[in-house]
C-alpha cells in the first residue's frame, strides 16, 4: 500500500516534472544553438519581461485550484493601466494614492464576481466573461486612445535597475517574486489556503466538514482581482501607458501558464512554483523564437497551444486513472 501511495503521489507530480524537464531542456538547447543565450541575464529578463504575467498567473492559480476560472484578468489589467494613466496624467493625482486605489478596485471587482458565482450558482466562466466585457468597456469610456504616462515616479519605476552582481532585475520582477512567495505561504501555511485546496477537491465535502465555502470562493476571485490590478500596475511601469487594448488575450496566457505549471483545471491539485515554471516556459518560448530570428512571433501562440494540448490530455489521463 505504501508503494501504491508513493506512486499516486508521484503521478500527481508528473505534469510538474515534465514542465521542469521541458524548461531545462529548452534552456540547454537554446544555449547550444544560440550565442549569448546561456547567460544569467537571459533568465532574469524572462522575469523582467513577464513580471505582470506572473502576477496575474498567481491569482489565476488560486482560482483554478478551487476548480473555477477567471476570464476577466486581461481586461482588469487593461482597466488598471487605463485608470492609473487617467488619474495620474489627466487629473494629476499622486501615484501613491492611485496605485492603492487601483488595487482596491481590482479586489472589489473580483470579490463581486466571486459573490455572484457562489450565491447565484452561475458558472464562473460566464460571470467572469461579463466582468471582462465590463472592464474592457469601461476602458473605452475613459478613452479610446492610449494615454501615455510621463509622471516621474512611473518613469523612475520603469528605468530602475536593481543590480545583482553583474546582472540586474527590475523592481517589477522583484514584486512579482515577492507575490509568488506570499502566495506560497498563503496556500500552504494558512487555513484559507488549505480551504482553497479542499474546495477544489470536493465542494460538497468542504461544506459538510464545516469549512467556510462562501468566504473561500469569494476570496479567491478577490485575490485574482487584486493580482490582475497589480499586474496592471506593473504593466504601466513596463509600458508607461494606459490603453484599452493592453493585455488582450492575457487570460489565455495566464491559464496556459497555470496548466503547464501542473495545476489541474478541475481544481484541488497544483503549486504556485509550477505556475512560476509555467510562466518561465512561456517566456522562454518567446525568447527562443526571438533568438532564432527567422521564426515569426505567431509561432509563440502555436507552440503554447500545442503545449496546452499535451498538458490537458496528460491531466486527463492522470485523473482518469486515479478513479
Amino acid at each position: 500500500m505504501n508503494a501504491h501511495a508513493l506512486l499516486t503521489r508521484l503521478r500527481g507530480q508528473i505534469p510538474l516534472l515534465v514542465t521542469a524537464v521541458l524548461l531545462v531542456s529548452m534552456f540547454s538547447v537554446g544555449s547550444v544553438q544560440y550565442e549569448g543565450f546561456f547567460s544569467g541575464q537571459v533568465v532574469l529578463n524572462l522575469l523582467i519581461d513577464n513580471a505582470f504575467l506572473l502576477v496575474v498567473a498567481v491569482g489565476m492559480t488560486f482560482v483554478v485550484l478551487t476548480g473555477g476560472i477567471d476570464l476577466s484578468v486581461g481586461a482588469v489589467v487593461a482597466l488598471s493601466t487605463m485608470v492609473s494613466a487617467w488619474l495620474v496624467e489627466q487629473h494629476g493625482w499622486p501615484p501613491l494614492l492611485v496605485i492603492p486605489l487601483v488595487l482596491l478596485m481590482g479586489t472589489a471587482g473580483g470579490w463581486l464576481m466571486g459573490w455572484i458565482i457562489h450565491v447565484f450558482e452561475i458558472q464562473p466562466f460566464i460571470v467572469t466573461l461579463a466582468g471582462m466585457f465590463l472592464a474592457r468597456g469601461l476602458c473605452y469610456t475613459i478613452s479610446v486612445e492610449s494615454i501615455s504616462i510621463t509622471d516621474p515616479q512611473y518613469t523612475a519605476m520603469a528605468q530602475t535597475r536593481i543590480p545583482l552582481g553583474d546582472l540586474f532585475v527590475s523592481p517589477s520582477a522583484l514584486i512579482a517574486l515577492l507575490l509568488v512567495a506570499a502566495g506560497f505561504v498563503v496556500l500552504h501555511y494558512t487555513r484559507f489556503g488549505r480551504n482553497v485546496y479542499a474546495l477544489g477537491g470536493s465542494e460538497q465535502s468542504a461544506l459538510l466538514m464545516g469549512l467556510p465555502v462562501q468566504r473561500t470562493k469569494t476570496g479567491v476571485y478577490a485575490i485574482s482581482g487584486f493580482c490582475s490590478a497589480l499586474g496592471g500596475v506593473l504593466l504601466t511601469f513596463y509600458m508607461l501607458s494606459g490603453y484599452g487594448l493592453h493585455a488582450v488575450g492575457l487570460e489565455l496566457d495566464a491559464i496556459a501558464a497555470v496548466v503547464i505549471g501542473g495545476t489541474l483545471l478541475t481544481g484541488g491539485s497544483g503549486y504556485l512554483l509550477g505556475t512560476l515554471l509555467g510562466v518561465l516556459v512561456l517566456g522562454l518560448i518567446q525568447t527562443v523564437i526571438s533568438f532564432q530570428g527567422t521564426l515569426s512571433s505567431w509561432w509563440t501562440r502555436i507552440v503554447i497551444g500545442a503545449l496546452l494540448f499535451v498538458f490537458i490530455v496528460l491531466q486527463r489521463l492522470i485523473t482518469a486513472r486515479r478513479r
Binding site: I69, I116, V119, F120, E121, I122, Q123, F125, I126, V127, L129, A130, G131, M132, F133, L134, R136, G137, L138, C139, Y140, T141, V144, G244, G249, L252, I255, A256, L265, T266, S296, S297, W298, W299, T300, R301, I302, V303, I304, G305, A306, L308, F309, I312, V313, R316, A320
Partner: protein, 360 residues
Amino acid sequence: MSTATTASTVKAVTRSRLFWPAAVLAVLLVANLAFTPDFFAVRLQGGHLYGSLIDILHFGAPLILVSLGMTLVIATGGIDLSVGSTVAISGALACLHISESTDPGSLATVLTAVGIALGTALVLGVVNGLLVARVGVQPIIATLILMVAGRGVAQLITDGQIITVTSDPYKMIGGGYWLTMPFAILLSALVVLATVLLTRSTALGLLLESVGGNPVASRLVGIRAMRLVALVYVFSALCAALAGLMVSSNVSAADGNNAGLWIELDAILAVVLGGTSLNGGRFSIGGTVLGALIIQTLSTTVYTIGIPPETTLVFKAFVVIAVCLIQSPAFRAKLAARAARTRRTTRPHPAAPTNREVGA
C-alpha cells in the same frame, strides 16, 4: 373577441420562447427611430437594396452563422471557444489559395478555396469533438486549445500579413448582391433554414436536447451521445468557417489577427439572449437568430448615436449578467423566498431538498 380570449392570447404570446428576444429587438429598433428618423427606410438603388435594416442583416450574417453552431453545442451542455480562431483560419486559407492561384477570378479557384477552408474546419471540429466526447475534456478547456493556437495558425497562413484578393466570385460570398439582396443575407438565411431542417425534421434536435437535458437518462434510453456531441462540434466549426469566408470576402482580405476576434463571446451572448440555457437542453434556433440581430442592432445603434463603439462591451456585460441571473435557478429561488418572506413573517426554512424521500 371577448376580453378573456384576448387575455389568453396575450398570455400565450408572452409565454412563447421567442417573445422576449423579439420584444427586445423591437424596442431597440424603435429606439433607433428617435436618432435616425429614416431608420426603417429601405431603398432600391442600382438594383441593390440599401438601408439600416439591410445593413444590420448584412453585417450580422457572420454572427448568425457562428451562433447557429454555438446553439447546438450549448444545447448539449458544451461550449465552443474556438470559433473565432476558426473564422480567422478559414478566411486565411481561402484568401491564400486565391491569391496564389494563376486565375483568382475563376469560379473553380474560388470553389477550391471554399473547399479547402471547409475541409480544414471539418478537421478542427473533429479534433474538438473527439477531445470533448471521447477523451472527456471539459468543453471550455478542450476548445480553449484551438482558441489559443488557432490565431497563431491563422497568422502563420497569412505570414502575419493581410492578404488581399481580387476575385469577383469570392467577393460575392460576403460583399455581393443577388436578387437585389446582399448575398451574405441570403446565404445565412439558407444556412439557418438548413439547420432548422437538419434539427427539426430529423430527430437530431430531440436527441441533442435529451443529451443536454439529462445525460444519464439519455444513456439509459440508448442514445449514442458520443457521436452526437462530436457532431455538433464539427457543425460549429463548419458554421464558423463559412462565417470566416463571409468576413474575408466582404473586405476582400484575410487578417489572421483580427478576423473573428471576440466573435465567440458575441455568439455565446446571442445564444443566451435567444433563450437557450447554458446548462444545455432545450434550444431555439429562432431565438439565436434574434439574439444575434439584437447584438448587431446594439452595435449599429451605439455607432449611430455617436458613443464610442467599443463601449458596447459595457452594455453586453450587463445583458449577460441579467440574462444569466434570470436563468439561474438559485436566483429565482431567492426571489421566490424573498416574496414569501414579505408575505409571512415567520422565518423560512431552507429550500426544499432535492433528494426527498417519498413514502412508499
